[in-house]
């Protein structure tokens, strides 16, 4: 890091000393021109609508009474924050995120170690685990839903006559299971790439010195993999936080299993209230930004791709 900074500092210093050459200026212009289309699309489709969402969230705007749209300040936020639905959805989302990412991390680490160590069937495993990663989330969710549907499903008899998709706790458990199945491979692949950075000699030396497998994992591998782990966790936490598809299919948010995304969607299409819906959008965005900020500032997760090798 510090070496990087010195290099950058000297580079900045050297460019400051000499006025920009024609070549450098042309390079700048080309760089901007090449990036412009992508930036325009991204800003037009996210920047503008988010601004628009903030605007809508400050107005009374009900699709049933569109003519009655007036500026009402932060009243919509008050409505949202006073509503137990928002806090419940936030709690459900947080529970799903924390538990599923924790399980994914443990299983993903195990999976990465298996892929790293196993000599037989390595290609097969790497191919097969891409199926959960690639499969359409809605498709996977239907698979789980029918697996747990009484009579129909092969898993439904597992807990006697229980109908897991009709209670809050079991519904969330099935949602977490579906999430873990789908995204553990992605976690494992990121961790596997991190595992490749751990020098083999170091592990062998530790083994010679009498370190147990557990010590080698916790004292050598995990600390060295920290950057890769943080990136993987950051990706997974933020992605898990927007969970929508599998809940929509598995429980449709019934039995108090709504996530914040489901709540936002419901508010728009069943309550038809754009004002409150938009304030939910902004609140969700703020929570996600806060989580990302904590990861980057608090844990020092590097923004991936930010510091390229040159």
């Amino acid at each position: 890091m510090s070496v990087n900074e010195t290099v950058r500092a000297t580079r900045v210093a050297s460019t400051r000393k000499a006025p920009l050459s024609a070549g450098a200026r042309a390079e700048r212009r080309l760089g901007w021109m090449l990036c412009a289309p992508a930036v325009v699309v991204i800003l037009a489709v996210t920047g503008y609508p988010i601004g628009y969402a903030v605007y809508l969230s400050l107005h009374r705007y009900d699709l049933r009474f569109p003519w009655d749209s007036t500026f009402i300040g932060l009243a919509n936020y008050g409505t949202a924050l006073r509503s137990p639905l928002w806090w419940q959805a936030l709690a459900v989302t947080a529970i799903i995120t924390v538990i599923s990412v924790a399980i994914q991390f443990v299983l993903g680490m195990a999976l990465a170690l298996v892929m790293h160590r196993a000599l037989i069937g390595r290609g097969l495993v790497r191919t097969v685990i891409l199926i959960p990663y690639g499969i359409v989330t809605v498709v996977a969710a239907f698979g789980w839903r029918y697996a747990w549907t009484p009579d129909t499903g092969y898993l439904s008899g597992l807990f006697g006559d229980a109908t897991p998709l009709t209670s809050q706790v079991w519904g969330i458990a099935v949602i977490i299971m579906a999430e873990v199945w789908k995204t553990t491979p992605f976690m494992a692949l990121l961790l596997l790439a991190g595992l490749a950075l751990v020098p083999e000699e170091l592990l062998r030396a530790a083994k010679v010195d009498g370190a147990t497998a557990w010590q080698r994992l916790t004292r050598i591998m995990l600390p060295l993999m920290k950057p890769a782990i943080l990136v993987a966790l950051l990706f997974r936490v933020l992605d898990s936080f927007r969970i929508f598809d599998s809940i929509y299919v598995l429980t449709a948010g019934a039995y108090d299993t709504r996530s914040v995304s489901i709540l936002g969607y419901d508010n728009l299409f069943t309550a038809l209230n754009l004002g409150v819906g938009s304030s939910l959008s902004v609140l969700i965005f703020l929570v996600v930004a806060l989580v990302a900020f904590i990861f980057v500032k608090g844990f020092g997760a590097a923004a991936p791709g930010g510091e390229g090798r040159h």
């Binding site: 969402a53 029918y146 959008s281």
Partner: protein, 289 residues
């Protein structure tokens, strides 16, 4: 597994490798089974006859292709399949095209604002999509692209561009660009140098990125159910959610399972053909070597 290996080493060093090998193979077997069973379950459901579909057995007692014939004679499904394919392909081409330009600039050129751009891309990649649903729903209705292909292509493009830029810039950094100059020194025109030397080197990264972007667009559900209202532009994941049985009393489970299997086929083809590249692409942007 690791503990098995280390305890057996103490007792009988010779058998250690075999025990470890067995352990790893067993682990592999479990992984393969767990990964495939949910998919095989859907395949099984899709081939079951209406009277055996609720028997709860993993392997069908009687087989039928009626579910597949059923969905392919329904415009609800065929039209959705066409929508899914068209929208995903167009979004992929645009994302890889625009993404390649930006990634080239990020990988090869020095210009102010580069870091900002990469940060912006990360921000968008992690953006909660549901936050855009309300404003886009309203905007699209006002400008008349609600329930159209373009109305879905635009958000897909936005969310796949960061993915494309990351993956492509990681690949582009690995290309030995000096070869281009070398070819020109050897008498190739700039166009020849690009087409004969650089393009073949860049192609694998482009293909990988295209696959990842396609999978992303193919997977979307939230935008599709929010920004469409008819089969004019509804994609398969959303259409499946609206399936009903042939009659009011028939369960649509068979049709849903068949449709689910059909839209998984492209994913399986990609995985079988490009396994190595997908793994490289998924990890290249995220972990720096």
């Amino acid at each position: 597994m690791a503990t098995i290996a280390s305890t057996s080493r103490a007792r009988r060093p010779a058998g250690r490798d075999r025990t470890a090998m067995l352990g790893w193979s067993a682990a592999n077997l479990v992984i393969v089974a767990v990964s495939l069973i949910p998919l095989l379950w859907l395949v099984s459901l899709s081939f079951k006859t209406p009277d055996t579909i609720t028997d709860g057995r993993f392997i069908p007692r009687s087989w039928t292709v009626e579910n597949y014939r059923g969905i392919f004679t329904e415009s609800l499904f065929t039209r959705a399949l066409l929508n899914s394919l068209g929208i995903a392909v167009i979004s992929t081409v645009l994302a890889v095209g625009l993404g390649a330009m930006a990634a080239y600039a990020i990988a090869r050129l020095e210009f102010p604002g580069k870091k900002l751009l990469v940060g912006l891309a990360l921000l968008i990649a992690m953006f909660p999509q549901v936050s855009l649903v309300s404003p886009l729903f309203n905007l699209w209705r006002q400008i008349g692209i609600f329930d159209t292909w373009i109305g879905l292509i635009i958000p897909y493009l936005t969310f796949s561009l960061p993915l494309a830029i990351y993956t492509l810039s990681a690949f582009f950094r690995e290309i030995p660009w000096d070869l281009e100059k070398a070819a020109q020194v050897d008498g190739a025109t700039p166009a020849q140098a690009f087409l004969r030397v650089i393009a073949p080197l860049a192609a694998p990264g482009m293909v990988t990125t295209a696959i990842l972007v396609f999978i992303f667009c193919w997977n979307d559900f939230l935008f599709s159910i929010s920004l469409t209202s008819t089969e004019r532009s509804r994609t398969v994941p959303a259409a499946i959610a609206f399936f009903t049985g042939a009659s009011q009393f028939a369960q649509p489970i068979g049709s849903i399972a068949a449709a689910a299997v059909v839209i998984t086929i492209p994913i399986i083809i990609f995985v079988l053909l490009f396994q190595r590249r997908i793994v490289a692409g998924l990890t290249s942007g995220a972990v720096k070597g």
